[in-house]
């Protein structure tokens, strides 16, 4: 592909624009913003990666990872409720996931310790972790609200904060990870995962592409469950004060 063909690809943006206009869907502004942003962001990342891969220097890899984690934290913090200290709790979660997954991948020689592997895989892992963090926080907030009478009951009987939020916490962890698990059951049947399709189009052997895709799937499974559980156990204490009283205002976003 070159820039001429990419320009032609913009037809696929013009079609929804026309449709939006004729059907009064009022999606024109958002579509244009989304298109412009994706072009700028991806081209920027492309050139950045080109440079980083060329140098393959540890410092640049680290810089990229810090950028990814900052962006993910920023995004999840805005959309994921207002738990006190949520920023560092998200950072801890993302850093932990990143170290754990890359530690296993590189440590066991599953993937080489090269920028070409580390950065895209980290991108998928951290991106997925971010989505899960938002899902979890939203779900946890609504579970706490729905079950606040039971929470208060358990506290009033002399239960600890952890016992008091056990059910909402477990429910939120479970329900935020279920979509990840469910989507893996039908993968390949309905649609080919994006990464695999990309690899195949770029000329990779489909078997090789499948192997990589499976690796990513398993990684994302781990990421999903660990993100929700870790974030859950980091964030529930901020629902309570020192006297083990439920502070409601802390969780409404």
């Amino acid at each position: 592909m070159n820039y001429i063909t990419l320009l032609l690809a913009l037809i696929f943006v013009i079609l929804p624009l026309i449709l939006s206009k004729t059907l009064h869907l009022d999606l024109e502004k958002d579509t244009i913003i989304a298109t412009v942003r994706s072009i700028i962001q991806l081209l920027l990342v492309g050139y950045l990666l080109h440079y980083v891969f060329d140098s393959d220097h540890f410092f640049y890899i680290l810089l990229m990872l810090i950028l990814m984690i900052s962006a993910a934290t920023q995004n999840a913090r805005k959309k994921g409720g207002s738990v006190t200290g949520i920023t560092w709790k998200l950072v801890v979660t993302f850093v932990f996931i990143e170290i754990l997954t890359q530690g296993i991948l590189i440590g066991l020689h599953i993937t080489p310790a090269k920028a070409q592997y580390i950065i895209p895989i980290s991108g998928m892992v951290i991106g997925n972790s971010m989505v899960l963090a938002i899902l979890f926080l939203n779900r946890f907030t609504s579970e706490i609200e729905a079950h606040h009478e039971e929470t208060e009951l358990i506290l009033s009987l002399g239960g600890t904060p952890k016992q008091a939020v056990h059910i909402p916490l477990i429910t939120a962890i479970k329900s935020s990870t279920i979509p990840t698990i469910e989507s893996q059951k039908t993968i390949g049947l309905v649609q080919l995962p994006g990464m695999m399709s990309g690899q195949i189009i770029a000329g990779a052997d489909p078997i090789q592409a499948v192997q990589f895709q499976l690796l990513i799937l398993f990684l994302l499974l781990s990421t999903a469950v660990i993100t929700s559980a870790l974030l859950g156990y980091l964030s529930y204490p901020s629902l309570f004060n020192k006297k083990m009283q439920l502070i409601k205002t802390n969780f409404s976003s």
Binding site: E149, E152, L153, S156, L157, G158, K243, Q245, L246
Partner: protein, 242 residues
């Protein structure tokens, strides 16, 4: 009444939520080993007062003493086990009646004996067969009975009962009244009982608080209800049907 006889003492307690004052300069006592009823219109702050006693909330100013010791000097968990609170809506954890009865002990890593659970059910006037019923299938009155039984599991020294008979029929109401009086006499349990039913308050109380608009309007024996002298209490009693 002397302060030594107070199970719970309020001194100039204020409680507000986001600039809304809910309890105002509350000063008064709940006498030890006696039954005190709290009456007053809904929204007066009665349930909130119980949450303060159980340390589910803390006052913005003033002091609450429990058995002569400042409430803030207690470990909240120890305090909450000592002060049994039957919440107004009788909330249940999902599962069976048994799950709810064993909850107070399970939270402490202990096990409730099934015989004890059945004894508690009979005490509150529920047949044994309800033990393994799902709480979702219970009527409002049955839930209230389970809630009372569950509050008794910890054998608290102080019982805070928040409108526990509001969904019960006359007969059951009397049975619960008799039960509470019996527990009070037998174990010298201090009982504080919020009720909407003035006749019930007159039947069971040694001492009564009339709470209106977050203020303690009057406290004394049941005569403050039967022959009220305070103008606001008179108004309130007139408005309630006996």
């Amino acid at each position: 009444m002397d302060n030594h006889d107070a199970a719970i003492q309020f001194i100039d307690v204020n409680y507000s939520v986001e600039d809304t004052s809910i309890l105002k300069n509350l000063t008064g006592i709940f006498p030890k080993a006696k039954i005190t009823t709290i009456v007053g219109p809904s929204g007066a702050g009665k349930s909130t007062l119980f949450r303060l006693c159980n340390c589910l909330r803390s006052p913005n100013s003033g002091e609450i003493y429990i058995n002569g010791k400042r409430i803030s000097d207690y470990d909240p968990i120890t305090l909450r086990k000592m002060i049994g609170l039957a919440l107004q809506n009788a909330p249940m954890i999902s599962g069976t009646v048994w799950n709810n009865l064993e909850l107070p002990l399970k939270l402490q890593g202990k096990q409730l004996i099934e015989e004890e659970a059945k004894r508690l059910l009979l005490l509150v006037g529920l047949e044994e067969k309800f033990l393994f019923h799902k709480v979702g299938d219970l009527s409002g009155g049955q839930r209230q009975k389970v809630s009372i039984a569950r509050t008794l599991v910890n054998r608290p020294k102080v019982l805070l009962l928040d409108e526990i008979t509001s969904s019960l029929d006359r007969v059951s109401q009397h049975e619960i009244e008799e039960l509470i009086v019996k527990i009070n006499k037998e174990f010298s349990t201090t009982v504080i009982w919020i009720t909407h039913n003035l006749q019930q308050a007159i039947n069971v109380s040694d001492y009564t608080w009339v709470l209106m608009n977050g203020e303690l309007v009057e406290a004394g024996d049941a005569s403050i209800l039967t022959s009220p002298t305070n103008e606001r209490v008179q108004q309130f009693v007139k408005g309630e049907s006996f």
